[in-house]
């Protein structure tokens, strides 16, 4: 399986993401500069965390206007799995690939520690290796991770089972304790916590590895079924 990791100016979790795919999972991965990236031929696209364009204006807003987002939309429409973590999630929101917006954390603090997440939906290509309601330990590291959407959008997210992860102890004020959501089609996942920072025991948790393993398992099933 071949992963693309898109590097924006200010990405700083790109190597962690690359490491998770390449070394922890043991699959192929490329780091691609956003201006030169050609996303054709990749089996999955990873948008890493960081501070694209210094978080100016709003986190992820300026990155969402770059040409690469056009390619992202095309790949998303084709059903290619896209995972956006932290700033990657913010970019997905700002570009409209996922609904909602990010506000500053409720306590105005940058927070960087492990949080317990509840797997609300394990019926996705990103979470099939988890149990439903499984509690996993994944680190967060953000200042603007307070997920917000209006009531109508929230009702739709619930109805379609698009809320994939929630916080056990909501650290940032997110609506309905939301930590990660998926699009209706089921191939674009955005989450604030960092699964790529929890892929082996030496990092204090390997609970994030199952997310990448789920992607791989799903790709293999599709590949075998399609062969």
């Amino acid at each position: 399986m071949k992963f693309a990791v898109i590097v924006f100016p200010g990405s700083n979790c790109d190597r962690d993401m690359y490491y998770a795919a390449k070394d922890a999972l043991g699959e192929e991965a490329d780091m691609l500069w956003y201006q030169e990236a050609n996303l054709e031929g990749y089996d999955a696209i990873l948008l890493p965390g960081g501070f694209s364009y210094g978080d100016y204006l709003r986190s992820g807003a300026i990155a969402s206007t770059s040409d690469i987002v056009k390619q992202l939309r095309e790949q998303a429409d084709k059903g290619i799995p896209i995972l956006g973590v932290c700033n990657g999630f913010q970019i997905l929101l700002e570009s409209g690939l996922l609904p909602g917006a990010m506000l500053r954390n409720k306590n105005l603090k940058f927070m960087c520690h492990f949080e317990n997440l509840i797997v609300e939906n394990n019926d996705t290509l990103f979470t099939s290796k988890y149990e439903k309601d499984e509690v996993v330990s994944i680190p967060i590291a953000h200042h603007d991770g307070n997920y917000y959407c209006d009531e109508e959008t929230l009702a739709r997210l619930k109805e379609n089972n698009q809320i994939v992860f929630t916080y056990q102890n909501n650290p940032n004020g997110s609506v309905s304790d939301i930590a990660g959501i998926i699009n209706e089609q089921g191939n674009v996942l955005g989450m604030m916590p960092h699964p790529e920072r929890a892929v082996e025991a030496i990092l204090n948790s390997d609970d994030g590895l199952k997310l990448f393993q789920s992607m791989l398992e799903n790709w293999r099933e599709r590949y075998v079924a399609g062969a």
Binding site: G100, A101, K106, N146, Y148, D150
Partner: protein
């Protein structure tokens, strides 16, 4: 040249933790009459004279400058300083 002044504020009903913090601080200083503070953004754009400027500013606000999910915007167009 025209000078466009854009004001962006969080929509009503959207929690503004920064505003709350500033309000708390003002109250601590003894300004008890301050009941709410909303913190926003102010941008100045110097643009060429253009008949469509208002339409373009609306577009810019909706596409990039403001996030319509959480923010409202307003703007004024004034005579700018010739450069």
């Amino acid at each position: 040249m025209k000078l466009v002044k854009v004001h962006i504020t969080l929509k009503e009903g959207v929690l503004d933790p920064q505003g709350k913090a500033v309000q708390g601080s003002l109250n601590t200083l003894g300004y008890d009459n301050v009941k709410e503070v909303r913190v926003g953004k102010y941008l100045e754009l110097t643009v060429n004279d253009d008949a469509n400027i208002e339409l373009e500013i609306e577009e810019m606000c909706n596409k990039l400058l403001a996030n319509p999910v959480i923010e409202n915007y307003s703007y004024t167009v004034e005579e700018g300083v010739a450069q």
